[in-house]
Symmetry: C2
């Protein structure tokens, strides 16, 4: 096993290329027919404001060449590309992404032209949710919410095993109203959940009140545990806001489980213990979801993107076997 | 056209019997092959605490005989039965209903035995939502939330044109957290939306603060319009809570429209105008749903129940045509 292999392996299937394109970094890898994730690398995403879609896609073509040169003979048959923002999977369009500055960018078509392979184009967070359901902590649940709590809060809602898309707008749990009298969020709305309960917000709010600079939410939790009243209040607000938000999801969509990943989930029982207690206190007849820690870590998006590329490849194979071909 | 016919007609299809069984009243009607709703009646639901399921089902058998005696030759081929509470449509079970006091009651099986016809068993609010989507104000929307705001607040979430069930627990928007510091709801939880924004709550809260007895929310709205500060505050709280709740649904499930019915929707532009403004102020990049007034009124549940019975009859017909039969 090469050092750059990811665990868990994806199992047997088509060889594909996968790109998880973020506003800062792009993760890319080749997946072989055994399902091994090979050559995983993280590179800067180059964004030309004059033509962000073209600059991103041409960087993917370069990365593809580098991967193929490294593993000659691997011959991927499809490519997965995932991006943040508002994504229209059905039409292969990047509708909007503040990090890239594009609007209605035909990424799938551009990618297919640049790479010469069929492209599965999708949303990074929905890809990560799909990976958690097929390979990780959300396995076995048909109706499940996957939350990544880090700098911000990203969410993916899976119903009947399929991601809820809502024209590209569903699952924005981090930008759901938590406090009508709260701070303005970077998105422009007031009191979004991620202004209170993201790891980024926890550090920021602690520093704003105490005047003490911290390196991240981890330090705030440690301070709270050591008796720092400001840290305890900030952490308490975050737990309350998360519990409120999960209680509302419970009443409306009734997931069987909520899977929590991202930096904040590393707090482990310091997060899950009090969160379970607070959620329980907010519910009555409702179906209580299990609160489960995510298993795939930061690479869930890349794994989900690879799975989407494999699904696309399987579709081609099935249609050819049927005597069709398109 | 008989005086007891409902509008809109359901269109051509199978003749069926429909029962919308509430905790107090049962509505029932025959639907003929032209889709006319005939003999609509409202009768008291008899509930024997010793065996609530048996008492309800035997009352439906009596009602069926009365309907058939009134319209001989109409020959329904299927029956629809809808009830409140937690309903497992797939297995035909009334999981729980506080009004009836049953738990895991096999209503579909009991109904089929008592009535001698195949039974489509479902949830009253999801049936109403389905009717609004197929015949009423939610027509043309694949992703839509239907809210009935009256004594309480009931919700139905339709995604991809199908009701979200969540094991029977989804759509409880009225029992979603609105105010963590609010009053205890009849359901046992704190600060549910319906403790602030239902027509019942608006009247109750006004009386609690002002000491003035009112006949319903309509009087509170009139008082607010006439300059009564307490009435204005109560109405303002209701609008804010509704806007908060719809904003959260927008961020998480991104419906194309929210259809509002029930007694409160009779306020018309006094409700929809300020609600649209407040919703707009709470959103940023999100997809703004249209806010639409429901069209079918109180009989939406019965109409949806009839549609479910017809779907069941169509399924039988299709299977017989296929040479099957089961």
């Amino acid at each position: 096993m090469a050092a750059d292999e990811l665990s868990p392996a994806l199992g047997p299937g088509a060889a594909v290329l996968a790109f998880d394109v973020g506003g800062t970094d792009t993760k890319s890898a080749l997946i072989d027919r055994a399902g091994r994730v090979l050559g995983l690398r993280r590179t800067t995403t180059p964004i030309d404001p004059a033509d962000p879609a073209a600059s991103v896609v041409s960087s993917l073509a370069e990365l593809a060449l580098a991967h193929l040169a490294e593993r000659p003979g691997l011959d991927p048959v499809a490519v997965g590309i995932s991006v943040p923002g508002i994504v229209d999977e059905a039409d292969g369009i990047g509708v909007f992404a503040s990090n890239f500055g594009w609007r209605d960018a035909p990424i799938r078509a551009l990618g297919e032209r640049a790479l010469g392979l069929p492209v599965a184009f999708g949303h990074d967070v929905r890809a990560a949710g799909d990976a958690e359901r097929r390979l990780g902590a959300a396995r076995g649940y048909d109706d499940v919410v996957v939350l990544a709590i880090g700098t911000g809060i990203a969410g993916s809602i899976l119903l009947g095993g399929r991601p809820l898309v809502g024209g590209g707008f569903a699952g924005e749990i981090g930008h759901s109203l938590a406090d009508p009298h709260g701070d303005r969020c970077a998105c422009g709305a007031i009191g979004c959940l991620e202004t209170i309960a993201s790891a980024g917000a926890i550090a920021r709010r602690y520093t704003a009140t105490s005047g003490i600079a911290v390196d991240g939410a981890r330090e705030v939790l440690a301070a709270a545990a050591a008796g720092d009243a400001v840290a305890a209040a900030v952490w308490n607000d975050a737990l309350d806001a998360l519990a409120d938000s999960i209680a509302r999801l419970t009443a409306t969509i009734a997931p069987q489980a909520v899977v929590i990943g991202g930096g904040l989930s590393q707090a482990g029982s310091a997060l899950f213990g009090p969160l379970r207690e607070r959620l329980d206190a907010r519910l009555s007849f409702h179906r209580r979801p299990e609160l489960v820690r995510a298993r795939l870590g930061d690479d869930a998006g890349l794994l989900g993107t690879a799975l989407a590329a494999r699904d696309l490849a399987d579709g081609f194979t099935a249609r050819i076997a049927d005597g069709g071909g398109s």
